[in-house]
Subunit: 218 residues, 4 copies
DNA sequence: CATGAATGAGCCTTCATTCAT
DNA sequence: AATGAATGAAGGCTCATTCAT
């Protein structure tokens, strides 16, 4: 069933409950790497987590809230790690900034797919207060990240917006019609062109463009 | 019901059958401007087309194939129009090229939303042969477009790839969590930043980058 | 499964559709004689009718609407039969009137149980327009019945109200805790007291009371 | 939460346990005045009582048993009070008897609704032994009440049966399809007819009928 | 005794697809 | 070719009850 080996039968303490919630998120995450949102049923998540279906609803009110939580988590993690990396590297050039922003990009497929969900399906069936909380929290996190970037806040935010759009776009591009005869795949990058390289190139270009003459002392 | 004037008798000739198929696509298109894929049922499409549900399946094997056909159509239309515009304007600068590529961008929301679908849901439940056909056809079209662009084929194709990614990305960005408290909307562009402008800026930057020193005699 | 022997596979004509709808109502009715509303699932109804679950929802929007239709039907039937009986017998005494109103009372258990439902559960999850239609229709029917009773309309309506209340009351009384040791059943009528007789007595008493000096020429 | 002042520690003595049981019944009672049986969850009762869900099951085996206990209590209370009133007033006329039986009728809505439950839902999922006990106990109480009525035991019991039936019937009638267009509400009493008045009238009529020539020395 | 996390059968309902007409 | 009634798997979700703590 699940990978978690031993687990208390009942989550009593707040800590255990957090752990249980985490178990569910981990289960969803595992399935998420191979399955689309529509195909992924709560039943499956429950089975993967080694829990009963009803238990899921003890921790998340709806399927959408579960996945919003997963997105939130991944976003936090990325923002945190990226902020730290800015602090550590203190990049001064567009290339350096882009490099920080793209650090570990190859491991972020789940996050990118979740971001696609956000604009597609997550907005529905989530309690408005939760949606608001998600946004507030995200804003706060982003502000922190912006603070570590070597640009004026407005510029930094614009950079992030472009990153966001590009991230989604290239993610989608990379998923389009997989399994199609590669010979005829033309829009799809040829063998020797890696999508990731293109993404990087684009980001560098846009950062360079936006950053022109706006470097600030951090 | 719909815009189709007369009640459909039997489509006998190939031409009539093509017309019937087109009616269905037009109906789907009308609904598509206001409704998400999941919310849009085959029943609705049938009603909008003034046809019975079963009739749809005479022309399209699955819901996905119907929408793939719609995407194909929009893509064709855009490629054609854009190729013509290249021919007409013969742009020589990145700005000019970007301007051609973004021409009528504001009317392309349905196409952009269909492109999002492609990577999300259209890939499933489509007969492989149809998927292949779609790709072949698209490639052919793209080659034609590439031929009209003032760059080497490889470069031109790269530009198109970036356009594709950005298109999807900004489309998604523009749809994320609407209705959320605007005060806290930070990732979302502030009032005075228009998404479209950012998109344009990014495209120009990337075209400029890719095109550097690669202008060819068309 | 069902008792209906032969049946068209698909109900095409309006008549066949009415028949199919009727099949469902008949199936629900059969189950209703032995099962409580909460215990009676749509699944069971479908099975009993020899149809798929989804088919039920082609004819009734919700479980409640199905049972409201069943109630409506039974009510119609009773009102019609009773109005006819008034016409035929032209009763002039309270006893005669009561006898008409109680005619076939022993076969009306399903109706009585449905009436109990009305005030308990049917009011919820029914489209307001349908509820209104039910009431309008019922009122019209009742007016017709009242027209055949040998009393002024107001008095006749009061009689019906009392009949309604008593019907429900005695029905409930007859259902209370069945299977309980009869020796100790005290509130419950002893062997030699039949509930129905009591019901009749009460109705006669109330009709006599209300009718005192109000006989009209019908 | 509720009206229970202190948070419940452990109920050790029999008295404390009785108190705890009572707390639960009081909580259920409070909710019962505003909520239907189906809508009223054990969770709510627990919360209202300031207890955990599991604790309820220490005192009542099922939801049904909890409500049967509540009914039993209300019935006791009413029987006691009514017996006392007979003793005090010593009514000799049907009007007097009816008046005693209907004393405080306007406060008995919860009891009436519980009686409706009895025939509908309480009969299921209750241990037979408990059902039997309920009946035995009720019989005993009723015998006491009958002893205070100015009729022969059989007659008195018949009066009570009629009261029971009418009580339920008028209760249900008063609840049927609330919120429906009053214009079309025909079965429902018109503005100037009060349900309670009708109920009283009916009871008087039936008592008069049954009591004819059967007055006994109490 | 008390807790409340966990259970899981079962609910009603939807809708892409099929197929008898 | 066209119909639309029928299908039925699958969905998300509820809640009385249990049981490890």
């Amino acid at each position: 069933m699940s990978s978690t080996s031993a687990r208390p039968a009942r989550a009593r303490s707040a800590e255990e409950k957090h752990q249980r919630r985490d178990d569910i998120l981990r289960a969803a995450e595992r399935l998420w790497t191979t399955t689309s949102y529509a195909e992924l049923s709560m039943n499956q998540v429950a089975r993967e987590a080694g829990l009963a279906k009803g238990t899921l609803y003890l921790y998340f009110d709806t399927k959408e809230e579960l996945f919003l939580a997963l997105l939130s988590e991944h976003l936090h993690r990325w923002i945190s790690a990226t902020a730290d990396l800015f602090l550590e590297r203190q990049p001064r050039t567009p290339e350096g900034v882009a490099a920080v922003l793209l650090h570990h990009a190859e491991h972020l497929t789940p996050l990118r797919r979740l971001l696609v969900l956000l604009g597609t399906v997550l907005e529905r069936n989530v309690r408005p207060e939760l949606a608001l909380e998600f946004r507030r929290d995200l804003d706060q996190q982003l502000r922190r990240l912006v603070g570590h970037m070597p640009y004026a806040p407005d510029t930094a935010m614009r950079v992030l917006r472009h990153l966001y759009a590009m991230t989604i776009g290239w993610q989608q591009l990379s998923e389009s019609l997989p399994g199609t005869d590669p010979v005829t795949a033309q829009l799809r990058a040829p063998q020797d062109t890696d999508l990731y390289g293109e993404f990087e190139l684009a980001l560098r270009a846009i950062v360079g463009q936006l950053a022109a003459g706006t470097l600030v002392a951090s």
